[in-house]
C-alpha cells in the first residue's frame, strides 16, 4: 500500500492505495464519488473522464499513485441539481443526454475544451469529444450543448 496526497474537487485527500489501484477505483470506491462511470475496459468510452491538473484523463487508464500530488476534478466539482453549472444547464436545455451514463464524462471533456478554447469551432468540439462515446443521443445535441455552453459562459466572462 502507498499513501498518496492529492486535491480532489478542492479538498485535500490523503489515501492509502494499492499500487494497482486505478484512479477511477479510488474515486468511485475509495472516495464515494460515483458520478464518474466505467463503461469499458479499453479506454475507449470516456465515461470515466475527469480532469487531472486541468487536463482530461480517462480515470480507468491512470493509476491512483500517478495522481499523487495532483489536482483532480470530477463531475461532483461542477454544479448541483439546484444550481447547475452552465455546461450542465446547456446539456439539459439542448437535450444533450438521455440515459445520462456517459454525460459526466462528456461534461468534463467539455469543461477542459472550453477552458482552452472559449469559442470552439465545430472541429474543435468534435476533436474534444472523439474519445467520449454516447449510445443514446446521436451526438448532434451534445455538440449543440457545447456550443450553447460556450455562448453562455462567454456572456458572463
Amino acid at each position: 500500500m502507498t499513501r498518496i496526497n492529492l486535491n480532489v474537487n478542492g479538498q485535500a485527500v490523503s489515501h492509502e492505495v494499492e499500487n494497482r489501484t486505478l484512479l477511477i477505483e479510488l474515486l468511485r470506491e475509495g472516495l464515494g464519488l460515483t458520478g464518474s462511470h466505467v463503461g469499458c475496459d479499453s479506454s475507449q468510452c470516456g465515461c470515466c473522464t475527469v480532469l487531472v491538473d486541468d487536463q482530461t484523463v480517462k480515470a480507468c487508464t491512470m493509476l491512483a499513485v500517478q495522481a499523487d500530488g495532483s489536482k483532480v476534478s470530477t463531475i461532483e466539482s461542477m454544479g448541483t441539481p439546484g444550481n447547475l453549472h452552465p455546461i450542465q444547464q446547456a446539456f439539459v436545455e439542448c437535450h444533450g443526454l438521455q440515459c445520462g451514463y456517459c454525460t459526466p464524462g462528456m461534461i468534463m471533456s467539455t469543461a477542459a475544451l472550453l477552458a482552452e478554447h472559449p469559442n470552439p469551432t465545430d472541429a474543435q468540439i468534435e476533436h474534444a469529444l472523439e474519445g467520449n462515446l454516447c449510445r443514446c443521443t446521436g451526438y448532434v445535441n451534445i455538440v449543440a450543448s457545447v456550443r450553447q455552453a460556450a455562448a453562455e459562459i462567454n456572456k458572463t466572462r
Partner: protein, 776 residues
Amino acid sequence: MNAETNYGRFGSGHSVQRIEDPTLVTGKGVFVDDVSVPGQLYLCFLRSPYPHARIVSIDAAAALAMPGVVSVVTGADLTAAGVKAFPNAAGFKRPGGEPHASPPRLCLADGTARFVGEAVAAIVAKSRDEAYAARDAVMVDYEELPMVVATDAAIEPGAALVWPQATGNVCNETLYGNVAACDAAFAAAAHVVTLDLVNQRLVANPMEPRAVLAVPDAQTGRLTMRMSTQMPSGARATLCDAILGIPQDKVRVVVGDVGGGFGMKTGLYPEDAVVAWCALKLGQPVKWTADRSDEFLATTHGRDLLSKASLALDAQGKVLGFRVSSHANVGAYATPTGVAIQLLIGPWVTTSIYDIPVIDFRLRAVLTNTAPTGAYRGAGRPEAIYIIERLMDAAARRLGIDQADLRRRNMIRPDQMPFKNPMGQTYDTGAFEKMTTQAVELADWKGFDARLAESKARGKLRGRGIASFLEWTSGNAFEERVTVKVAGDGYIEIFTSTQAMGQGIATCYAQLAVDTFGVPIDKVRIIQGDTDRGVGFGSAGSRSLFTAGSAVEVAAKKTVDLATQLAGDALEVAPSDIEYREGSFNIVGTDRSIGLFDLAARQPEQQVFIDSTTKVDGPSWPNGCHICEVEVDPETGEVEVSAYASVNDVGRVVNPMIVIGQLDGGAIQGIGQALCEEVVYDRDSGQLVTGSLSDYALPRVDMVRSFKTRLDQSVPCKTNPLGVKGVGELGTIGATPAVVNAVVDAVWRHGSPEAALAMQMPLTAEKVWQALVAKR
C-alpha cells in the same frame, strides 16, 4: 385543458425539459454499480475460451486457497442444487412439424460449453481484485468439440452440430404466404429483382454494462436484487418460477437509473441468476458488475440474418409478388425472445407499407456456436424493412423509375385502412404517401443534381437513398396497471411498472399528469422499478407511452373524479356542482373551494388513491420516410453522411424534444449498422474477434453533423386513448436502408452497378473501395 391553465406549458405537446436531467448531469444518478452495502462480496465469471468443448473437469482447489476467496461455483454445483435451465422457445416447430430443438440454456455450463464466453464458473471473493486473481487459478480441463459459427457453414450438409436433435442445425422454422400463388405471380412478372442480403450481427452496447447487487435478508428470508433491467417483473418471474423454484414474493427487484437498454436488458440473464443463487447460498450480499468484455461475449446479440429475396413486378413497377427465404443465426441457445423476433415480429412487417398481393416467406432459425441473439432496438423489424427497401431500390434502378415514385405506386392508401397485411397483421392507420411526399420536400429531392455536381467539383462521389417504412410496436403486451396517489403532503405520486432506461418516459408521464391535474410539474413524482410496488410487462417494443401513458391518463382522470366526490362531501354540495381546475375544487358560481392537496390531507389516510388498469386495443404502427445523402471519397471509399432528413408519423406527441431525441438517437444506431458495426467470429477458430470497443466500431461524434427531423401528428393512433405511437425504435429501422441505399447510389453512379447492388453491411471504407474499383 392544458392550454387554459397556468401550467399548460408543462403539459403534453410541449418540449418540457426532462425531470430526470438535473440528477443525471450532476453525477447524482444511481446506477447499480454506484450502490454498495456493508459486507458485500464480489463475483466474477470464468468463461469458456472454446466455441464448443466438453468440460472434463474443473479444479478450484488452488483458487479456493487464495486470499479473500469465498466460493467457486460450477455448473455441476448448480445442477446438484436443483437450479434449472432457462425456459426454451417451446411452441415453435422445426421443418416437418417436429418440436423446436435447442440445447438447454443453463446458468453455468454443465458438461458442455457451446460458445466462446459462455460462463463456466463463478468466483466469489471479498474484493473484486481477489475474485479476478482467483479466476486465473481455476483449472478447467476442456476437450474441444467440432464447432461452427457462420450461418452458411452451419447449414451445409455434414456441418458440426450444436445440438444433435437440431439436425442440420435448424432449430425451428416459420412459413407464411402461398407458394403456388407466389410462383404464379413471378411467372407472370415483367421484371424480377433478386438480392442476397446480410443483416450482420450487432451488439447493443448501452454505455452502462449489466450489474447486479443481490442482498439477502436473514430475518425475512427475502432477496433484494438491484439490477439494470428494462423488465424488473419479468426478470423476477423467470428467476423465481423457472430457475430457482422459489415463490416470487421472496424476491424484490429494484431498479435505479438504467444506463441504456435498447432491448438488450430485457429479461433475465444467466449471470443474474448465479448472483442471486450465490447470495442466497452464502447468506451475504453479492455484487457483480460486468466489464465490457463480458458484454461483448455474453449479452444477447442482435440481428444476424442471411436472406435471398425477390420481387416480381409488372411493367409499370407494381409489385406482384414477394419471395424471401432467410436463415437467422440465433446462436448456441435459441432464446424465446431471439426466436420470436425472427419468426414472428420481423415477419409481421415484412411487406411494410406496400400493398403486396402475395408472398412466399420462409425463415429458418439456425444454431451456431456463438452467443445467443435476442432483442436489439428494432428487433426483427430492421431486418425486414432492410430487405424490402433494398429490393425497392434495386427495382427502381432496374425499371428506371424514380425511387420515390416506385414506392408511391405500391403504397397502401389511407382509404384502405384498417389494412390487413399478408401476415395477418392489421394496421389501424397510415398515410404513407403523405410522409414520403413531405420527406422528399424536406430533403430537397429536386435539388440533388446540383449537390451532386458540387460534390463532383470537389472530387467526391455523391449518392442519395430513401427508405419508406413502418413498424409494429407494443411488445405484444397491451395492459398496464398504474397507481395514483394525491398526498396530503402536497404531491402526486404515480407508479408504473414500465421502466425508465434513458428515454425520458418519466417526464412524459408527468406531462400527462399535468394535463389532467393542472398542477406544477414539480408536484408530480414518477416511481418505477420496484416489484414490491407493482408488477407488469416492463419497457420493450416501444410500448411504454401508448400503454402506460394511456393508463396514466385514465387513472389521473379517475383520481379527479373520485376527488370530486370527496370534495362534494367536504363542501357539502352535490359533486355535479363542483368544477375542478388547477389543483382546486370550486363550487360553481361561488367563491367556495377546497384545494386538491388540502382535500387529500382531510382523508382518513391523508391521500386520494386510485389503482387502475387500462388495456389498449392493439399495437401502434408508426411509420415514416427517411432520406439520406452521402459523399464518398473515391480514393479511399470512406463514406460521409452529408444530409439526413426524415418525416415521421408518430401520432400525437407528448414531448417533441424527447421524440426527436429518440428518432435521431435511434437513427445513429441504424447508421452504425449501415456503416461500421459488426460482430465478427473467426470462422476457423470460433473466437470473437470484435470483443472490445477497440475492435467493434461504435458511431462517434463526427458521424452525423445534423438531422432534419419532422414529426407528423396528423394521423393519431386509433388503438389507444392518447393517440400516440411508439417511437423508440423508429429511427433505427429507417436509417439503415436509407444510408445503405445512398451508398449504393453513389457506387452505382460511379459505374459499378453490379458491385453496388451486391454490397453488404457494414459499408466500411474498404468494402466501398472494393465496389468502386469493380467499375466496368
